[in-house]
């Protein structure tokens, strides 16, 4: 036994601070191409229905209640989800700003129409959002198994999922809830420290194709 021996916990191989890595770098994992084989927490009928749509468009209202802010922050906008390609999250009010989130990149869309492409590794938190959305909108939570334990309740008309984060994500997140019927109606995120985000979805439309501009943003041809 050498004097330099360090406890196993301090001896991660080559990487550092792996917990941190996990928190910020979940996007580093290429999302599985065949998530369909994993177990999904959704009721099968919901999964099947959600799986039918290649593209979903919906309006959203997001209310963030943050401890550091005097009042809740409300944003409205539109979301386009393209199965297998990613999510476009376009805020329309009170200001225009958008994100196109794909497994590899996050494109920020500025109000003036310019866009900045950054790799998902630079913006891991947003990329993580993309994965949660991908899972919830496609009706398949298999890809979230590594970060959450998932409990489901209800039936295909009114279902509810509760995602409880696994270490090390649980340092920051308390819980994510999603509710819906034919479609997701809202998502709630509770963070440690009391910050809380609620997103309500309105007027979901199923489709099969993206507009050329959307396809370009998501890198789908």
């Amino acid at each position: 036994m050498s004097a330099e021996r360090t406890p196993p916990g301090c001896r991660p191989w080559r990487g550092l601070a792996f917990a941190f890595v996990a928190f910020l770098a979940t996007a580093a994992l290429p999302p599985s191409a065949s998530a369909a084989d994993s177990a999904s927490a959704f009721p099968p009928a919901v999964s099947a229905r959600l799986a039918q749509a290649a593209v979903v468009r919906a309006g959203f209202t997001q209310i963030k209640t943050l401890a550091a802010l005097r009042r809740p922050l409300t944003t409205h906008g539109e979301l386009v989800f393209a199965r297998g390609h990613g999510v476009i999250w376009q805020i329309e009010a009170p200001y225009r700003i958008g994100y196109a989130i794909t497994p590899e990149t996050v494109t920020e869309l500025a109000p003036d129409g310019t866009s900045t492409v950054r790799s998902a590794r630079e913006l891991p938190a947003l990329a993580q959002v993309g994965r949660v959305f991908e899972a919830l909108f496609s009706g398949d939570t298999g890809a979230l198994d590594t970060q959450f334990t998932i409990a489901a309740s209800g039936d295909e008309l009114a279902w509810r999922l509760e995602l409880t984060p696994i270490a090390p994500l649980d340092r920051f997140l308390t819980r994510i809830r999603a509710e819906g019927g034919a479609f997701i109606t809202h998502i709630e995120v509770e963070e440690r420290g009391g910050d809380h985000t609620r997103i309500d979805f309105t007027n979901p439309q199923r489709g099969q194709t993206l507009s050329p501009a959307e396809a370009q943003l998501l890198g789908a041809r």
């Binding site: 191989w13 990487g15 550092l16 599985s32 065949s34 943050l66 009042r71 959305f133 270490a167 910050d195």
Partner: protein
Amino acid sequence: MRGRAWGGLLLALAIVVATVWQFATAARIETDLLALLPKTERNPLAEEAAARLGRLSGERVVFLIGAPGREDARAAAATFATSLAGDPLLRAVSGRIPAQGVDHLLELYAPFRTGLLSEAARAWLAAPDLLAAHLDARLANPFASRGVLPLAEDPFGFFDDWLAGLPLRELHLDLDDGWLTLREGDTWWLLVTAELAGSAFDPAIQTGVLSRLTGAEDALRVKRPEATVLRAGALFHAHAARSSAEAEVRLIGLGSLGGIVLLLLFTYRSARPLLLGLLSVGTGLCAGALATRLAFGQVHLMTLVFGASLIGEAIDYAIQYCSARLRAGSGWDPRRGLTAVLPALRAALATSVVGYAALGLTPFPALRQIAVFALTGLVAAWLVVVLVMPWLLAAPQRWTPGRLLALCNGWLALWRARVSPRGFAAVALALLAAAAPGWLQLRANDDVRLLIQSPPAVLDEENRLRILTGLEAGSQFFLIEGRDAESLLRTEEMLTRRLAEAGVRLQAVSRFVPSCHTQQADRARLRASAAAAETLLLDAGFRPEPVAAWRAALDAGSPCLTPQDWLASPLSLPMRHLWLGERGATALATVALPGGHRDVATLARAADALPGVSLVDKPGAVSRLFGEVRRLGAGGVVAATLVIFGLLAWHYGARAATRILIPTVLAQLLTLGVLGHLGTPLTLFHVLALLLVLGVGINYAIFLFEAVRDRAEGREAAALTGVLLSSTTTLLAFGLLALSSMPALSGFGTTLALGIALAVLLAPAVLIAAADPT
């Protein structure tokens, strides 16, 4: 004579006993391939850093345990890690890692956060519009509103952004409940690592750890047949190299020995020549091993593989002595016989010594070992023949190998009758014309992998693991030297920027600890925008208290984060090899590893004109050295030919010297042609083999020439018998060497076998010279 013989015999026995004792009491056989690489760096610190990085990766073994499904994979990895834990040969086995990294990260960096800015943050601060837009975007983000720190402490997310730039995430691995995990389709792969309790080249570690691993893998296969294990580490290469080298020593050693035994028995039909021949060879091999051990501290396995093939050459002296006894028949007198054969034996030893001494002059530890081994071995074998054989092999040869002699006579008669000098010239020219297109096709290859080549199975498995995980095995790195830590870090930062422009990431201390200069500049930048930032925060709806607290923290300032802070944190543990620390009283040094795409020219350009930065490219340097020595060696072959010509001309006259040289030179040229036609790239080792072809080929020509000059009845045929026997044993040994898995040895063996075969076939050309009335 009797006294000398006794002395010789005792010396031989002493050598054998000493060798057996030396090698039986301790493992002194080296398999570290790095030990074979010459020192290429003028800067001793660069050599030290290269050795240190090599050792670091050498003592680690990495596994990926894969199974379909997360739970199965985790259970499999846990089973595997548990079955390895507790082995005394493994210092640490890590599978599941408790998540404590965030705390360490906060502890180390959070107090200094006002001086830590990412490139993006600097751009936001430079333009108030951008900062406002960034804040809006951050707050409007779906989901995430905080980072590692609560929103109030890091409202703009600068700290998160800086942490995200740490070179931690250049791996494809994700921490899943303590396991480093990655997913490939349906398969979940979990990383398990182990550190060896010693060097990967230590045979005890190799066998012990490998049997433990095999046990663990077998147990896993029984328990979880769906699981797959991928492994990587120097240990597996080292073990493969050792096993194949040991197999080759056995094959070449036993093959040549067996061949010699059969040939000697067949030719002389008596046990004595055989036993004395084996005594000579055995003493030679032991002396070679012993001398190498004394000169270098250990014997490399590659030297032993080569040494095994030396059997074929060391037996030559005994064979020459026996063939002299054979041709003397019943009139054999050992004293006179020795006197008669001694000039040829001396010439033979001298040419070999010239050849191997040339090997010893190259800057390669591997070749120097081979040279010392060969020189000592051949001299010892020669001494046994000269001192001991005349005494123990005094009786005349009774059995005459009539058929063999007849065959040799026939072959010589054929040359005499059919091959006129003009005819030989015509044949030689025709052969050269056929070889010429081959010369034009000759290509050079100086790749370092000539010395180091692992079996494809080991390489494939390791490559697969590296591709899956994104781990890199870097062999090029930068060495940065400076007066103090601050100047080192600033140089590193400059290098990092230059490389980033070329699209190359750099793993360097300064990416974990920016220079104080950078930290102060960033803090100044932040302070300059503090008032505007405060307004922005309040306008965005922040409560006044957190904004005031943020401003107070910024104004309070802090000292700079230093490398000492980083070194004191457990976070630096896996990266400590980057910090070489103090070198002497006034100098510090670090290494920096380029990642991803590595183009040596790009790296060299980035280091250009940066004071204290040098690019260390060990494989490149070794390859360049190979090339240099190859060109030098080619010159050496020509020079040695001229020197030998001078010696022969002084002894036999210029005309005879020319005739003696012709078969060998012709053999060398034809060998080059054949190699060209076969498309075999010419390496340093082919060139060195040509040098030895010169030595050995001339021996044969000298033996024949001496016999012809003597004009004694039956002497030529007997001499040719000797040459044939010698060349057969030599060919057998080097032919077997050509089968070696080490490209260097295989090229060496092929060239020698080809060259010597041609030299022997052409050797009777000297008869034409001798028969010439002039």
